[in-house]
C-alpha cells in the first residue's frame, strides 16, 4: 500500500491531522493519487500501531478536538527505504479503451459520441493542470526550492500524458469519421 508512503511523505514535511493530509493530497498529488478520509483515518491509526507515527490529541475550544500525527524515526526510515525501492508499473484499467476495442459492434455515431465525451474530460483535466495549480504550489514552496522543482516535474508529467490522450482522441475521431463504416 503506498497510501501509507504518500502520508509518510507529507508528514515528513510537517506534523498534521488526517483532515489536513486529505487537503494536501487533493491539492498537490490529486492527479496521480487520491484517497478518501474514510481510508486515511484507519490507515493513520494502523501506522501508529506499526510505530511509523506518534499521535497527539489537541483539545480545541470552539472546534472539534483533533489528532495530530508526527512521523517517527522508523517512519522516516521506511519512507526512505520505499523511495529507493524499484517501482513497478501500476496495473491499468482503462474501461474506455475496452469500449473502443469493441467499437466494431457499435454504430459510428455512438462510438463518436463516446470519443467526444472522453475528449472533453481530458481537455478539462489539461486545463486544470495548466491553471493556477502550479503557481499555487510554487508559492507554498517559496522557501523550498528543491521541493518545488520536483513538484513541478510531476505536474509536467500529468500535462504530457493529458496532451497525449487529447492528441490520440482527436486523431482517432478523424479516422473514425473518414474510415469507419456505418
Amino acid at each position: 500500500m503506498s497510501l501509507k508512503h504518500a502520508l509518510l511523505g507529507f508528514l515528513s514535511y510537517n506534523s498534521m491531522t488526517g483532515y489536513q493530509l486529505k487537503q494536501y493530497v487533493d491539492e498537490s498529488v490529486q492527479h496521480f493519487w487520491n484517497a478518501s478520509l474514510s481510508q486515511i483515518y484507519p490507515t493513520l491509526s494502523q501506522m501508529e500501531k506499526e510505530g511509523l507515527l506518534t499521535m497527539e490529541v489537541e483539545y480545541q475550544e470552539e472546534k472539534p478536538n483533533r489528532k495530530i500525527y508526527h512521523i517517527t524515526d522508523a517512519g522516516r526510515q521506511e519512507l526512505q527505504r520505499w523511495l529507493r525501492e524499484p517501482t513497478n508499473l501500476p496495473s491499468v484499467r482503462e474501461a474506455f479503451l475496452i469500449k473502443v476495442f469493441f467499437g466494431g459492434t457499435m454504430e459510428k455515431e455512438d462510438i463518436l459520441s463516446q470519443m467526444n465525451q472522453y475528449l472533453k474530460l481530458h481537455r478539462d483535466l489539461l486545463a486544470m493542470y495548466q491553471g493556477p495549480v502550479l503557481e499555487k504550489m510554487q508559492q507554498e514552496a517559496a522557501n523550498l526550492e528543491r521541493d518545488s522543482f520536483f513538484w513541478a516535474l510531476t505536474l509536467e508529467a500529468g500535462i504530457n500524458l493529458e496532451k497525449a490522450w487529447i492528441e490520440w482522441l482527436e486523431e482517432s475521431i478523424e479516422k473514425i469519421k473518414k474510415y469507419a463504416t456505418d
Copy 2:
C-alpha cells in the same frame, strides 16, 4: 465492474472457456486491462447466475473437461448498454510520481536511478507494442476489417501514452542532471 463487460465483449465474438478468455485478454487488451484466472472463473459463474451467459460442459478425453460459456440475449443487451454509457476517468495510482513528488528528500543519484529504471520499463513496453502484436491481431481479424480498425486504435493509444512517458522521463532526467542540487 467492467471485467464483466470485457468478458461479454469477447464472448460476443465467440463462445469459449475461462481459460481461453484469459488468453484473449492477455493477447489483445493486456496493455489496458488484466485479469487473473482466479478472478475470471468466479466472475463467469456469477454472470451465469445473472443470466448474461449460459454454460455448457464439454467432456474431453485425454484433456480436462471444460466449461464453455455462451452469451445470452440479455448479455448482448447489457454489453450494448454499457458500451453506450458515459465513461468516467479511472482513478490513477502512480506510485512512481509519488516518489518523484518527494524526490526533494532523496539524493540526486537515487532519484536518477529511479527515473532510469522507470524509463527502461516504459521503453520495453513501447517496444512490445510496436512489435509483432499488431500484425498478429490483424491476422486474426482478417475477415473482420471493422473490428481490426478499432483494435489498432487501442494499440495506438498505448503507443502514444508510452511515448509521452518516455519523453517526459528523458526530459526530466536531463533537468535533474542540470538543475538539481546534491
